[in-house]
Amino acid sequence: MKLALAAFLALGAASCVSFRFDRATVNLPPRAGVVAALVPGKSALDDALAALGAPVFVWEWKGDGMALAWGWSEDGARGVTLSVPIDQGTSAQASYDDLARHLRGVVLFFDADAQLVDAREGALNDFRAELERRRPAPVE
């Protein structure tokens, strides 16, 4: 009887309480040495795009300059989770922004002539807060 009660409680609890071993991967980092090979004062936008592919974010920087951000993450978690399933709908843009929120990576800064002038590493969300400025642009 006690065993049945224990099994019942375990099965019931499984729907909202669980011990979880999770891992979430978003994109993959570039191969070793790829970022280091991009040198401020020597490399250009074409070099960066060829080496790293398309960035995750592009921001305007100092007027005619631009900042390009590449990011990736691998998060692992172990612990106890209490969850209550709630249906959630999001827009594609919200999904893209949410995805990028936890990324770390590299931001390369280019001048008006598309020459690399600076490279910084860190959490992309911090750079977003610093650099992002949205304004409408015409699309024909």
């Binding site: 979880r20 891992r23 994109n27 995750v56 995805l99 699309v139």
Partner: protein, 129 residues
């Protein structure tokens, strides 16, 4: 219950606790279409005719950049009573197209990695293509 019956019942009890799922956002980018874009020649109008409306337009001084993206997330997991294992692998196809102040394409950056998303367990390596 006999041991044989119990052994047969076990997979039936545990099977519902396994799952895989896949989420996608937008549609995959096509390498062939992107290679048709020629810096110095292709215009923004031609780009939108080929690829449709961009998912984001960023103004860069007098210039602009268009973003196209596709995201796929593959999840795999299983639970044994109250212990669960979950792995989530998200990869993207992205293309950023840069235009000058005359709306002529100047630079193209593309990464087509969405196809490399994998179903895996938390302790397994997810490899690049």
């Amino acid at each position: 219950m006999r041991p044989t019956q119990a052994l047969l019942a076990l997979p039936l009890l545990l099977a519902p606790a396994c799952f895989i799922s896949r989420d996608t956002v937008n549609v995959p980018l096509v390498q062939k279409t992107i290679t048709e874009l020629t810096p110095g020649k292709t215009t923004a109008k031609e780009v939108t005719a080929l690829l449709g409306a961009p998912h984001e337009v960023v103004q860069l001084g007098k210039r602009t950049a268009y973003r196209y993206d596709y995201t796929t997330t593959k999840r795999a997991g299983f639970s044994i009573l109250i212990v669960s294992f979950l792995n989530q692998d998200t990869r993207q196809d992205r293309a950023w197209l840069f235009f000058d102040d005359a709306d002529v394409l100047t630079h193209v950056g593309s990464s087509l990695e969405a196809e490399g998303a994998a179903y895996a367990m938390p302790w397994m390596d997810v490899e690049r293509d």
